[in-house]
Amino acid sequence: MKKISRRSFMAAAAVSVAALALTACGGSASSAASSVASSAASSEAVSSAAAAELTTVEAGKLTMATNATFPPYEMTTDSGEIEGIDVDTAKAIAEKLGLELQIDDMEFDAALLSVQQGKADIVMAGVTVTDERKAVMDFSDSYATGIQSIIVPNDSDIASPDDLAGKKIGTQRGTTGYIYCSDDFGEDSVVAYDSGLTAVQALNNGQVDAVVIDNAPATEYVAANPGLKVLDTSYAEEDYAIGMAKGSALEDAVNKALEELKADGTLQAIVDKYINAN
C-alpha cells in the first residue's frame, strides 16, 4: 500500500467529489448502486493521484505480459530470451519511465486477462483494439497496424476470404482471427489452438484448410514452411496497441513515452530492425 501524501489526498478528494457529482447526474441508477459506485470511484481517484510516482505491479519494474509465438512482434531466441518489436518497444518505454522491464510469457488469452487481474502492468502481444476489449481494458495509442491474413497450402482452392466458407479454419485461441472467423463461419468450422505455431503445424498436416492470423507472423511462418503461401487479399485490418487495466494510472505516461518514441524515430528503427531488414 502506498502512503498517501497530503497533496495527493487533496487531489483524490477533489476527484472523488467530481466523481460523486457525475454519478449523481447519472440519475437512473438506484441509490444503493450509486453509493457503491462513488466509493469505488474515490479509491480509484487515489490510485490516479499517485500516478506521479507510477505505481506498478512490482515496484520499480514494468511488468509486460506477452505470448512469444508471434514473430516478429515477440518470439523466443535459441537461448530462451524473448525478443521482437513489442519487446524492444516496451524496453524503450520502460527506459523513458525509469523502470526495469520484466517480461512474462504466457498463452495469449491469459496475457489479455493478466492486466485486468493486476498481474501485469501492460500487455503487448500484437493486441488489436476492439470495442469488446475496450469495455474491459484501456488501450494506449496505436503503435502499429496489423492485417489478418489467410495462410493456405500452395495448391489450395481458397483464393479469397469468401472461399473460407465450409472449410476448416485454424486460429490461435483468443485472437481476433479466432473471433472474426467463428462469428462469420460458425464455431464448428473453426479450430482454436494454443499458439499460432500449432495452427500452422495443423495446416501442414492437412488437419485444417487455412489459418487466419496476423500478417507479420503469417509471413514468418510461410517463410519457414515451404508449401504454404499467404493470400494477397487480407481478412481484416486492425490497430495494435498496448493494453492496460481499466483506469490504469500508467496510461498517460505510456502514451507520452510512445509519442516521444514515434517522434524521435526509435519506433521506426525498431520496426525496421525486425521487418524491413529481412
Partner: protein, 254 residues
C-alpha cells in the same frame, strides 16, 4: 433480463463502475445466457461424455486383455512356459511401460500431430488416446484383482475337474470384479476429468467451450467456475452410479 443487460452495458461503456450485484449479473449473463451461450456448454458436455464413454470402453477391453495375458503367463507351472504366451506377455509389458512412463499430454500431442497427422476428427483421436492410456492403468488394476483371489480357489476349481479357462471365467473373475470395483471407479473418474486435455489438440469438449466464451467476454471467473461445477456434478453422478453397482454386486453377501 436482456434489457437489464443492455442497460448495464451502456452504463459500463459510459465509464460508470458497476456495483457488486450489477457486475455479478452482467458477467453471469454474458457467460451463460447471452446469445444462448449455455448451449455451447451443453454440447461440450455431450462431447466430454462421448469421449469418456468411448475411452472407457476401449480402456476396459484393452485392460482386461492385457491383464488376462499377463496373469495367465505368470501362473504357468515353472518349466512349462508357453512361447506364444511369452511373446504376448512381453508386448503387454512394453505397452504398459510406455503408456505409464509418458505424460498424457505428450501422448495426446504425439497422437494428434505425428501419428494421426492427417485426421480431422480431433475428438475421436482424443478418445482413442485416452482409451489407450486408460487401458494401461486398468490392466494393472485388474491384474491386481485377479492375483488377490486366493490361489486355493483356483486349486479347488481345477481339482473338481474344471479346466483353467472355465475356472477363470466362472470362479476367479467374478470375485476379482468385486475387488477391483473401487479402484476402477477411481480410474474412471480420472478419465472423465482428463478429457479436458483434448482441448489442446482442438477437441471441442467442455473446457474448449468455456475458453471460447472466455475469449469473447474477457472474464475468466464465470466460465471456469461453471465448468468446474459441471465436472463436479458429472463426477458425483458417476460415483453414485458406481456405488449403486457395488451394492448390487454385494447382494449375494450375507
Amino acid at each position: 433480463m436482456a434489457a437489464q443487460y443492455e442497460l448495464l452495458k451502456e452504463l459500463l461503456n459510459s465509464g460508470t463502475k458497476l456495483s457488486f450485484e450489477q457486475d455479478f449479473f452482467f458477467k453471469f449473463y454474458q457467460a451463460f445466457l447471452l446469445k444462448d451461450r449455455w448451449m455451447q456448454y451443453i454440447s461440450g458436455v455431450g462431447t466430454t461424455l462421448l469421449v469418456t464413454a468411448l475411452a472407457l470402453a476401449l480402456g476396459v477391453v484393452l485392460g482386461s486383455v492385457v491383464a488376462l495375458v499377463r496373469v495367465t503367463h505368470d501362473q504357468q507351472r515353472p518349466g512349462h512356459k508357453n512361447a506364444v504366451l511369452g511373446f504376448f506377455n512381453a508386448v503387454c509389458q512394453v505397452y504398459t511401460t510406455i503408456i505409464r512412463g509418458t505424460p498424457m499430454m505428450v501422448q495426446l500431442l504425439i497422437m494428434s500431430m505425428v501419428i494421426f497427422a492427417n485426421s480431422r476428427n480431433f475428438t475421436m483421436v482424443g478418445a482413442l488416446t485416452l482409451g489407450i492410456n486408460s487401458g494401461a492403468y486398468v490392466s494393472e488394476i485388474i491384474r491386481g484383482g485377479l492375483m488377490a483371489v486366493d490361489p486355493g480357489q483356483m486349486e479347488a476349481g481345477r481339482s473338481l475337474g474344471l479346466n483353467y479357462m472355465t475356472t477363470m471365467v466362472v470362479i476367479i473373475i467374478p470375485q476379482a470384479i468385486r475387488a477391483v470395483l473401487p479402484a476402477l471407479g477411481n480410474e474412471f473418474i480420472i478419465l472423465l476429468k482428463d478429457t479436458s486435455l483434448i482441448t489442446t489438440i482442438g477437441g471441442k469438449e467442455l473446457l474448449y467451450a468455456a475458453q471460447g466464451i472466455m475469449n469473447r467476454t474477457y472474464d475468466a471467473m464465470f466460465p471456469l467456475l461453471g465448468v468446474a461445477l459441471i465436472y463436479l456434478i458429472l463426477v458425483m453422478l458417476f460415483t453414485w452410479l458406481l456405488s449403486k453397482f457395488e451394492r448390487r454386486l454385494a447382494q449375494s453377501d450375507r
